[in-house]
């Protein structure tokens, strides 16, 4: 029977000695801190371009393209509707102005006719008075 068998704790003690923490290699901490600094810079850069990197995914690209196309179609339809409404409104406005001009011209015509009549009529003569006898 070995000593270890006689005293099981001896093995555990031996294990504790064998598995004592060892010093990290020289410069380990500096290397870690240097890499951490690089990690910070890389993280900031990644954050800036992450939204662009999203488009490296084919599905995202196609989805974005589809979304843009849909927006363009909807926007185009909306724009055409607006253009049509504007054209119809302009046409209605022109009709309105035409109607008002016609009405105005006829009133002008009436005025001219009235003036013609008035100017063509002779001036009314004052009534004749019977001569007064001198006293």
């Amino acid at each position: 029977m070995t000593e270890t068998n006689k005293n099981p704790n001896l093995l555990e003690d031996a294990l504790r000695k064998a598995l004592r923490p060892e010093e990290a290699p020289e410069g380990f901490a500096l290397k870690v801190l240097a890499r951490a600094q690089q990690q910070n810079s890389a993280a900031q850069e990644a954050q800036r371009t992450s939204w662009l990197s999203m488009f490296s995914q084919p599905f995202v690209r196609w989805a974005a393209l589809a979304a843009v196309s849909i927006c363009l179609v909807i926007g185009g339809v909306h724009y055409r509707n607006l253009q049509r409404q504007r054209a119809e409104g302009e046409a209605a406005k022109q009709q309105l102005m035409l109607a008002l001009r016609i009405a105005g011209s006829k009133l002008q015509l009436a005025k001219e006719k009235v003036n013609e009549i008035n100017t063509s009529r002779p001036e009314p003569q004052p009534q004749n008075r019977s001569p007064r006898s001198r006293s």
Partner: protein, 193 residues
Amino acid sequence: MSTITRKLVPLILLLAFPAILRAQELKLPPGVEKLASKAKETVEVNMDGPMLHWASKFLSAEDPEERKAAKLVANLKGIYVRSYEFSDEGAYTAADVAAVRAQFRSPEWSRVVGVRSERDGDNVDIFFKLENEKMAGIVIISAEAKELTFVNIVGPLEVEQLADLGGEFGIPKLKTKPQSSKPMAKADKGEQK
């Protein structure tokens, strides 16, 4: 004779709705409606209240003419125009015009202008509709040798507003106050014909 120069206007399509006909006070007899087929040019405008309101949105505030038009149209309920231009004289009959004039013999209508010119045959009648002593509408019937025009403006039109249009569209500034000295044309004193 002054005639309206029609530079435009082939047949202008309506922006009409069926409800327009109810608002319109001027009813054209079938004989007059058929004149469109004889006319070289026809202008037909039917604009009721909503349509006027919508069209007025497109009037520019920067244009003086359109600005005044917007002001006038703001309270109107309708503008209806029929205008026929013919190549030759005699395309319509006096009876056609008389039938239209007869519609405004009712008490609510007053003929304020009635001009008959034997020299050139131009006849112009202007009727005002009064409600509560305020202008509620105007009808203009212009019968010229080669042109027949009917205008009906419906709405609480102030005489002053109509006067504002004078000079903008060629509408004469009507004198709202009685003038002294000069006698009125005989047609003004009531319907003659």
